[in-house]
Amino acid sequence: MAETPELLLKEAARFLGIKNNIPPQLEERINELYNILTETATPRSVWRIFQIEAGEVSVTFDDAFSIQGKDLAQILRGCQRAVLLAATLGSSVDKLIGRLQATAMDDAVILNACATAEIEALCRRAEGEILRGMDKDSFLTMRYSPGYGDVPLAESEKIITALCAQKQVGLTLTRTNILVPLKSVTAVIGINKDKREEYGGCPGCGLQDSCPFRKRGESCGL
């Protein structure tokens, strides 16, 4: 499902903390910067389906390696298969944000928000493609990334290695496990036959008590 530019623009505004009534001047600037972002980004993604076994505190993939996380194991309980996904907007976006941070800080903040909206959209597009390749009665659980809940950031390395994501999409880690390029995602998504409520939205989210969106009466949209 293609997402309209208006929707992505609203999403970028939301990441800037603006819920409704975007001032026209700002809306125009978001629009301009979103266009610059789309021209600059080189979006790429790679994924693969694994056989999994969800334990108590970790999930094992293809009997070969495990990703730690109690919440993740809980979400994947009942799933026989899961997708590992790596997606990135490419390093040109990092360079652009870095340049704007030195020359026009306000634009840098806006472009950063646009890039966050865009990487999320890229992940949703990938999820759409994954779903298209599966049986009609299959569902995807929520997308769960290292650094979220109790899955350590360091677990990203296993996803990058398992997908050869450095070679495939140019994704690497810093010594402190930050993804490079910055506007990138590594994630685990369970595949299941029955749709449980906690597969999307706030009920299954470990951050529901401290979420800034919820405090404002909204949700992050995942």
Partner: protein, 143 residues
């Protein structure tokens, strides 16, 4: 033996190592270079297959051997590099005019300012692989 590309000859390189290892049971996410310590016979057998198939240059199982990987594997870098080059040399020596390449892949970290790897450290990361590989007798380096 010194390596010089012959004017009158086309040199054939070998194929991939990782897929050969996975076909022989290396698990996804496993460290291929650890096999240089734990199962060097397997690495030698793969080199032999490529040589038998007609490869003139075989690449040592060192593509991912660098200090970061070595740290993760809990082994000194030299233990990953030296047996790999030596095993390839051993197989190549059974033939005439075959060469061994020290295979060097990306180190997995990105240079500053995009990433967090300082230039000087990057130089050292690659230099120490080159030193170990050339000490072990590699004929050439494949980048």
């Amino acid at each position: 033996m010194g390596f010089k590309i012959p004017d009158d000859r086309i040199l054939i390189f070998d194929g991939a190592m990782g897929t050969m290892l996975q076909n022989r049971g290396l698990k996804v996410g496993g460290i291929p270079e650890l096999l240089n310590i734990t199962n060097i016979e397997l690495i030698g057998a793969i080199h032999k297959e490529y040589l038998t198939a007609g490869a003139d240059v075989i690449s040592a199982n060192t593509f991912g051997a660098n200090r970061f990987k070595a740290e993760k594997a809990g082994r000194p870098l030299e233990e990953l590099v030296i047996p790999a080059v030596k095993a390839a040399k051993r197989e190549a020596s059974a033939y005439r005019n075959k060469f061994v390449a020290l295979d060097i892949g990306p180190c997995g970290r990105v240079l500053q300012p995009t990433g967090d790897l300082p230039f000087e450290e990057a130089v050292e990361v690659f230099a120490e692989v080159v030193r170990a590989g050339s000490d072990a007798g590699a004929d050439l380096i494949l980048l």
